[in-house]
Amino acid sequence: MRVQSKRALRMVAVAGVLVPSLGQADWTMNMSPGVTGTSNDIFGLHMTILGICVAIGVVVFGVMFWSIIAHRKSKGHKPANFHENTVVEILWTIIPFAILVAMAIPATATLIDMYDTTDADVDIKVTGYQWRWQYEYVDEEFGFFSNLSTPTDQIENRQAKGRNYLLEVDKPLKVPVGKKVRFLLTSNDVIHSWWVPELGVKKDAIPGFINEAWTRIDEPGIYRGQCTELCGKGHAFMPVVVEAVPEEEYQTWVAEQRAAAERERQLTEKEWTLEELMERGESVYNTVCAACHQPDGSGSPPAFPSLRGTAVVTGDMDAHMDIVVNGVSGTAMQAFGEQLSEVELAAVITYERNAWGNNTGEMVSPKEIMEYMSE
C-alpha cells in the first residue's frame, strides 16, 4: 500500500514538472529525495507543488510580459477601458481552488503516514541539550551524548576545514536498516529541533514534553543533519549524525554498548590517580565545557566566568562540586550531574582544579562524587 502510493506520487511529480531540468538539477540546488519512504513522499510533493507553481508562473508572467512588450505607450498602444469581467473573475477563483484541493489529497495522505508512530521496532529517546544531543536506547538501557567533533581550530580558521565540517560528531546515532525506529524527542533546556534531511524527519525537542517521529531507512549509510531551532550561541554547532547499519551489525554494536555501560559503572569503583583523572578530564572538558569556558579556561565574562585561578575552581571543593553537579539556576550553567557519569564528573572537576596553572594538586575521586550525589 505504502509503496503503491509512493509510486503514484512520483508519477504525479513527474507529470507536474513542466521544466524537467529543474528536477535533475545539481543536488545542492534542490531537496534530496532521501533514503526513506517519507522523504521520498515529501520529495514527490515538493516537486509537484513546484511544478504547479512554475506552470502558473509561466502563464501569469507570460501574459504580463506580453503586455510589457506589446502594450507600450511608446509603441503607440492605446489603452482599452475594460475593468471587470465576472466570468473571468469567477474562473480564476475556482481553478486555483480546484488545484489546491487536488494538492491537498496526497499531502494529507503523507501527513497521516508521518504521524503514525505505532508498531515501532526500536525506541530511541532523543534529548536536546545546549549544545549537543543525547540518545538513549529505551529498551537497551544505555545511552550517550553525541558532540560536535569538528576542532575549534577549523572553526576559527586556523586549520583547513575537513570534508564534514560542522556535520561530524564524536559518536553518531546508530540504527538498524529496514526497521521502524521511533524517536521520542524532548529537551533539557530550550527548544531544539532534530533534523536529518535524507530521512525526512524534523521534529522540535520541547522541554517538558515529548514529540514523536519515526523513520525506516532503506539503505545503509551515514546521514547528516543539524539542529534547526535557534537554541542559543551553539545552535550551529550541534549536528545530528545517523549511521544506518545492517541488523546483525546493529545487534553486535548494541551488545558492545551495553557492556561498555557496565564497564563505566565499574570504573567508578576503581582507584584513580591524579594523572589518569587529568587525562580523562581534559577530554571531557573539551567536549562539554570548552564551548562556553573556552579551551584555555578563560571563559567569556560576564556570561561565562573565567576558570583560570578563580575562586570557584581553586577554593572550596564542595562548592565546586555543587556548581558542576547542580548547575547555577538562572544562568547558562547547567546541572551536569544528570549528563555525565561519576567518572567524568570527577575527572573534569580534577582537571579544572589543576589545569591552566591552577595547580591546586587537589583531586576528587568518582567514589567521592557518588557519595556527594547520594547525600
Partner: protein, 527 residues
C-alpha cells in the same frame, strides 16, 4: 476659554511653525507623515547595516568577523528593527500623508494622538537599541523570541526589550485607531465605501488587523515578563505550562502581522499599476473582497509556522487547508494586476518599475509560501534558508519595493519637484539585481539543508552564501542612492504639476504640488 476660541479662529490661516517645535508639537498629518517616513528610513539603514554584518560573517564558512553571541543579537535586532521600525512606520507614514488627501479630509481624525503615536516610536527604539550596550548584550533569541530561550535563558536586556515592544504596541494601536476613525468618519461627501481608493481600503483593513493583534503581542510579552520576574509558569512545563503556548499566542499575532506589512503595499501598487497602464484597475470590487478574505483567513492559519512543534494531526490538517486557501484571494489580486496591465498603454517610470517587480517577485514569494503551506513538505523546509528566502521575497520586493514605488509615485506631490528619473531607474535596477542575487540562492541553500540563524555552516553551502552576500552588499549600498535621490528632489528639480502622472486618478492629484500645509479644510464633493 476665549484663548482657545482665538487659536481656533487662526487655525486655517497659518503655515508651519518654525524651528524644532514645528516637529515636536505638530498636529499636521503631513508633518507627522514626513517624520514617520524619515524615521522609517533611518531604521531601514540601521537594520540594513545589521544585515550587512550578518552577510559579512556568512561570506565564508568559519567564524571570521563576529562571535556567535553577537551574530544572534544581529539577526534578532535586524528582524525587530526591520519589522517594527522600518516597514510598519513607513506604511503609517504613507497613510498619514495620503489618507486625508485621498478621502478629502482636513487632517487625521485625532491629530494630537497622531503625534503621540509617532513620538513613541523613537522612544521605543531608543530603548531597544540601547540593549546592545547592556551587560549580557541585546536580545539574542530571534525576532520571534521563542520561550524558554527568551525567558529563563534570555539576557537581562530582555526586560527592556519587553517594554520597548509595549511602547511600539501602544504606538501602533493608537495609529490604527486614528486611521480607522479617519476613514470611517472623515470621507468627503459622496465618497461611499466602495468608491474609496484601494490604498484607503487596504489601510482600513490593516488598521483593523493592528488593533486586533497588537494587544495579543502585548499579552504574550507580558506573560514572558511574568515568567522572568514573578515566578509564573506560562511557558514552563514543570509548573503545568507549555513553551508551545508561547508560539501559539505569538503567531496569533505574528501571522496577521505579516499581512499588516503587505496589505498597504497591495493598495499602493494597485494605484500605480493602473496609473502607468492608463487604464482603470481591473476588478476593483474583487480586490476589496480579496483583501478582506486574506485578512480574515490570517486569523486562522497561525500554526503553519509551527508544523514541526508537534501539533496534533487534526490541527495540522486544519492549518494546512486554511493556509492553502489564502492562495486563492492572493491569486485573484495578482491576476487583477496583470489584467489591469493587459492592453493598457504602458510606460515604465520608476514607480512602475518597482510595481512590476513587486508583482513578479511577490508572486514568487507567494509560490514559495504555497509550497511551505504543504505541511509534509514543510517538515523539510521549516527553519531552513528556504523560509528565509520566502519571507525576504515577500518583504523586500513586497513590502519594501511597495514602499519605494509609493514614495516615487507621491514624491512630486510631497516635494513639488520631480525626482531625477535616471537616478530613480538606476536605484531600481541595482536594487532589483542585488535583491535577487541576495535572496534567490537562499532557496537553494534551504533545499540543500542549511538551517537559518546559524553563524557558520558546512562547506557545501559556501558558494551560494558568497553569491548571496555579494548581492546583499550590492542591495545595501544601493539604498544610499535612494537617500541622495530624495534629498535632491526635496532641494530642487523640475517643478511638478498638480498631476504629474498622466494616468493617475484620485483626489490627491486635485491639490497643487507640493500639497499645501492644510488641504481640504472644506471637503470636496465626490460624484
Amino acid at each position: 476659554m476665549s484663548a482657545v476660541a482665538d487659536t481656533h479662529s487662526q487655525e486655517h490661516h497659518h503655515g508651519p511653525a518654525s524651528g524644532i517645535t514645528r516637529w515636536l508639537f505638530t498636529t499636521n498629518h503631513k508633518d507627522i507623515g514626513t517624520m514617520y517616513l524619515i524615521f522609517s528610513f533611518a531604521m531601514f539603514l540601521l537594520g540594513g547595516s545589521m544585515a550587512m554584518v550578518i552577510r559579512a560573517e556568512l561570506f565564508q564558512p568559519g567564524l571570521q568577523i563576529v562571535q556567535p553571541e553577537f551574530f544572534n543579537q544581529m539577526t534578532t535586532m535586524h528582524g525587530l528593527i526591520m519589522v517594527f521600525g522600518a516597514v510598519m512606520p513607513a506604511f503609517v507614514g504613507l497613510a498619514n500623508w495620503m489618507l486625508p488627501l485621498m478621502i478629502g479630509a482636513p487632517d487625521m481624525a485625532l491629530p494630537r494622538m497622531n503625534n503621540w503615536s509617532f513620538w513613541l516610536l523613537p522612544c521605543a527604539f531608543l530603548i531597544l537599541v540601547s540593549t546592545l550596550f547592556m551587560q549580557g548584550g541585546a536580545p539574542n533569541f530571534g525576532w520571534t523570541f521563542y520561550a524558554p530561550l527568551s525567558t529563563t535563558y534570555g539576557p537581562p536586556s530582555t526586560t527592556f526589550f519587553i517594554f520597548a515592544i509595549h511602547i511600539m504596541g501602544i504606538s501602533s494601536i493608537m495609529g490604527a485607531i486614528n486611521v480607522i476613525a479617519t476613514i470611517l468618519n472623515l470621507r468627503a461627501p459622496g465618497m461611499t465605501l466602495m468608491k474609496m481608493p484601494l490604498f484607503v481600503w487596504t489601510w482600513l483593513i490593516t488598521a483593523f488587523l493592528l488593533i486586533a493583534v497588537m494587544p495579543v503581542l502585548a499579552g504574550v510579552v507580558t506573560m514572558m515578563l511574568m515568567d522572568i520576574h514573578f515566578g509564573t509558569s506560562f511557558f514552563d512545563a514543570s509548573g503545568g505550562g507549555d513553551p508551545v503556548l508561547f508560539q501559539h499566542v505569538f503567531w496569533f499575532f505574528g501571522h496577521p502581522e505579516v499581512y499588516i506589512m503587505i496589505l498597504p503595499a497591495f493598495g499602493a501598487i494597485s494605484h500605480i499599476v493602473s496609473a502607468f497602464s492608463r487604464k482603470p484597475l481591473f476588478g476593483y470590487a474583487s480586490m476589496v473582497y480579496a483583501v478582506g478574505a486574506i485578512a480574515l483567513l490570517s486569523f486562522v492559519v497561525w500554526a503553519h509556522h509551527m508544523f514541526t512543534v508537534g501539533v496534533p494531526l487534526t490541527g495540522q490538517l486544519f492549518f494546512m487547508y486554511a493556509t492553502m486557501l489564502i492562495a486563492v484571494p492572493t491569486g485573484v489580486k495578482v491576476f487583477n494586476w496583470v489584467t489591469t496591465m493587459f492592453r493598457g498603454s504602458l510606460t515604465f517610470e520608476t514607480p512602475m518599475l518597482f510595481a512590476v517587480a513587486f508583482i513578479i517577485l511577490f508572486t514568487i514569494g507567494g509560490f514559495s509560501g504555497l509550497m511551505l503551506a504543504i505541511a509534509p513538505a514543510d517538515f523539510q523546509y521549516h527553519d531552513t534558508y528556504f523560509v528565509v528566502a520566502h519571507f525576504h521575497y515577500v518583504l523586500v520586493p513586497g513590502a519594501i519595493f511597495g514602499i519605494f514605488a509609493a514614495a516615487y509615485f507621491w514624491l512630486p506631490k510631497w516635494t513639488g519637484h520631480m525626482y531625477d528619473e535616471t537616478l530613480g531607474k538606476t536605484h531600481f535596477w541595482l536594487s532589483f539585481v542585488g535583491m535577487n542575487l541576495a535572496f534567490f540562492p537562499m532557496h537553494f541553500l534551504g533545499l540543500a539543508g542549511m538551517p537559518r540563524r546559524i553563524p557558520d555552516y558546512a562547506l557545501q553551502f559556501a558558494d551560494f552564501n558568497m553569491v548571496s552576500s555579494i548581492g546583499a552588499f550590492m542591495f545595501g549600498a544601493t539604498q544610499i542612492l535612494f537617500l541622495f535621490i530624495v534629498v535632491k528632489c526635496v532641494r530642487g528639480g523640475e517643478k511638478a504639476p498638480a498631476k504629474p502622472w498622466e494616468g493617475a486618478e484620485g483626489l490627491e492629484w486635485t491639490v497643487p504640488s507640493p500639497a499645501p500645509y492644510h488641504t481640504f479644510a472644506t471637503p470636496p464633493e465626490v460624484k
